[in-house]
């Protein structure tokens, strides 16, 4: 079981790892720094079938998060993977645009350590344990 995190900030990737470690989630965090790479990786079917959640930043180098999101949601197989936008931006246009492009949720990265770790715990417990994906999604 994997979470794919697309984020160009290694410090945030470490914080998410720390959060997952603390809540004991049995999941592997797979981090990618830019949007093009993310879509390429997901297109390899085998990888996509193992990814249970995508955490996608909005501001990414090369291709921005919303463009990556549209590519994922326009793909008949990849679209089944839940995508949570995970970004510093509180701008209304980023939030609205993400939902319009098919985001399953939009979470603003909290400023404080405790809040950040709580957000990671809540995200992983909901999307990995509570959310029931439609039949067939596990294997594309």
């Amino acid at each position: 079981m994997k979470i794919l995190m697309v984020d160009d900030n290694p410090a945030d990737i470490d914080l998410v790892n720390e959060g997952l470690r603390r809540c004991g989630a049995k999941v592997e965090l797979c981090a990618i720094h830019d949007g093009i790479e993310a879509v390429e990786l997901l297109r390899g079917l085998e990888t996509a079938s193992l990814v249970r959640l995508i955490l996608l930043d909005v501001n990414l180098p090369k291709v921005n998060g919303q463009a990556v999101l549209r590519q994922i949601k326009n793909d008949p197989i990849l679209r089944r993977v839940p995508v949570v936008m995970f970004s510093t931006s509180r701008a209304a246009r980023d939030i609205r645009g993400s939902y319009e492009s098919g985001a399953n949720s939009y979470v603003v990265k909290p400023g404080g350590l405790k809040d950040f770790l709580s957000a990671v715990r809540s995200l992983s417990s909901y999307w990995l344990e509570c959310a029931i994906l439609p039949a067939g999604s596990e294997h594309g």
Binding site: N9, A11, D12, L15, E18, T88, K109, G111, G112, L113, K114, F116
Partner: protein
Amino acid sequence: MSGTAVARTPAPPGTPGEVLRALIVEDSSSDVELMVRELGLGGFEVSYNVAQSEAEFRALVRANSYAIVLADFSLPQWRGLEALRVLAEEELDTPLILVSGTVGDLSAVECIKQGVSDYILKDRLARLPAAVRGALEEQRLRQERKCAQDDLAQKAHELARSNQELEQFAYVASHDLQEPLRMVAAYTELLAERYQGKLDAQADKYIHYAVDGARRMQTLIQDLLAFSRVGRQEMELSVVNFENVVDLAIANLQTAIVENKVVIKREALPSLAAVQSLMVQVFQNLISNAIKFRSSSTPCIEVKAEKSWGGWMFSVADNGIGMAPGYCEEIFVIFKRLHTQQEYTGNGIGLALCRKIIERQGGKIWVTSEPGKGSIFRFTLPGATTG
């Protein structure tokens, strides 16, 4: 027909040796001569052209620059008053004096209303030089006024642009500062969690300073962002029930209210056109200030509203430490603080934000206070009660 009448008396004051360029609309050459003669007697050296039709007139004003137009009220081909229209079409500000044998079908007052500088009867031609002087002076004043107005408009435009740039700068700066700062805050907190008490007392203190500094800066940036957002965003007014607004503000401050056993007294509040989220912010800032600057006695806050001229006046009164009247204006200036960070925490944005919110909605905010006797913050909002 053109010519120059030689001055017989010195040039008028203010125009030494200057030749008065005149365009005369007249079909009688003897009347032209009479006018020029009178001007000469009045101290003007005149250089002039004569036009008898609209076409001639238009051609002349396009080709030359005139200080004054003297027009006969009625010519066989067209009326002197029409020259006004041509001047306007040619975007010329040249003053025009009507000179007429008789009072025509339009009264002198009517002509002046239409933009004629003066109206002179031919049998009172001795008044012409004074009328010309008057018209030239009036034009000079008009041009000065226009210059001043243009200048003012230009300055206002520049100010608006520079304000807008400043707002944009503040927004971008604070927005882009948030990201690296979030890293500093999160990782100093992580350091604190992991190494507090494991190094030495000095290290603990340093870590505490770093964590505290990063937290304060995060609050500062968020408040600055809110401040700059209020300046930029459109005020989308809707009918707001101020009972709800105060309920929400109080709910947001619940912890502080319970901790400090704050007593809040309220009177009935109206519904008015406003921006709800911003008004919650205003009440929240005012109430939280009243709690922060409490005296040793139980904090008591009174929220009221009364009808005032053209709208409503709200007040938030407290029994806190108050302040010297001399500070009552200063505290609304951004970053202005009356206390050290050790005495009272804060960044000096709260009241500046309140002022900006109120002013953006067409109101005013002020405070009356005395040390030891509490403060009363009042603000107005325009508009009638709705529901």
